[in-house]
Amino acid sequence: MNKTVLITRPNHEEKLNFLFFWTQEVVDIAKEKGFTVLDLSAGKSNKKDFDSYIKRNKPSFVFFNGHGSSEVITGHNNEFLISINKDEALLKNKIVYSRTCESALKLGPRCVKKGTKTFIGYISPFVFFYLKSSVIHPLNDKICKQFIEPTNMISIKLLKGHTSGEAHEYSKYLMQRNLFSMLSSASTEGERTVASFLWGNIINQVVIGDLGSRI
C-alpha cells in the first residue's frame, strides 16, 4: 500500500472556497494518520502539477474537489485535469472520490473499466447551499455543513481503513440523518426549503467498481 493521497481543491470561485476550507479537515486527518498528503490547493490544482504529482508519487487515493461534468473533472480556473478517453490511465489502481458535478455518469465508469479500483461520485450536479454572510468564515456556515460534512466522511472513512463501500454508505447514512434533521420542526426555514437538494445528493451519489477496496 502506498500511503500517499492526492487532493485537489481549487478556490478560484466563492463557492469553491467553501469546498476548499471544508476539505482542510480531510487534509489534517490524513496527516494525523501518517499519510503523505499531496495537497494541490488553489493555483496548484493545475494540469501540469496534477500530472507530475500523480505520476511521480502514485497516490493510492485521489480526492477531487471542484467542477466537473459527465466527461471531465476540472481544477484551478476550470482547467481540465481528467478528460474522458484521454486521462483514465492516471487513475489506474487508485480509489477516487470526485466531489464534482456529474463525473460518475460517464467518466467514472470509463475509469473503472480502464483500471481504477473504485470511483465514488455523482451522476447529477452536486449541490450545496451556503449563507451569503458566511463567505469570509465558510466553516461557521451551518447550512453548508449539512451538505458538505457527510461527504467529507467518504475520505475520512477511507483514511481510517474502511472499504470504499462502507465509506460511501456511511456518508449516505449521515446525509440521511441531516436530511431528517432539516425536515424536523426544530430546523430553520432555510434548512427546510433546501432539504430536497440534499436528498438529490443522496440519491445521486454512487460507487462504481470494487466496493471492498481500501487505501
Binding site: 467542477h67 450536479p125 452536486f126 449563507l131 462502507e166 431528517f180 426555514e189 426549503t193 430536497s196
Partner: protein, 95 residues
C-alpha cells in the same frame, strides 16, 4: 427511470407547465440570504427559476429531482430512508 419520467412528465405540455409553476414556487421559498452552489457558473435562485421557465437542461434536471423528491414524500418512500442507528453497522463515530 429518469428518462422515462422526463418523457412522461416533461413531454406533456400541460403537466410540464404545472410542474414548472410548482418548482418555481418552491424555489421562491428559499430565503434570500442563501446562495446555491451548482454547476460551473455562479447561478442564483433567480437563474434557476429562469432555467425552469425556459425548460433548458438544468431546468429539466431540477424539475426531475424536485418531482422525485415530492413523490417520495407523498408515497412515504423517503421515510424508509430513516437511519436506524441501533441497527446500523456504519454508525461508529470513533472509527
Amino acid at each position: 427511470m429518469k428518462t422515462q419520467n422526463r418523457k412522461d412528465i416533461l413531454g406533456n405540455k400541460k403537466t410540464r407547465e404545472q410542474l414548472q409553476k410548482l418548482v418555481i414556487a418552491r424555489l421562491s421559498a428559499i430565503p434570500k440570504d442563501l446562495e446555491i452552489a451548482v454547476g460551473n457558473s455562479k447561478y442564483t435562485i433567480s437563474d434557476l427559476q429562469r432555467f425552469v421557465r425556459e425548460n433548458n437542461e438544468i431546468g429539466k434536471q431540477l424539475m426531475e429531482t424536485q418531482l422525485e423528491y415530492l413523490r417520495s414524500m407523498a408515497s412515504g418512500e423517503i421515510y424508509k430512508m430513516w437511519p436506524n442507528e441501533q441497527n446500523s453497522t456504519h454508525y461508529s463515530p470513533q472509527s
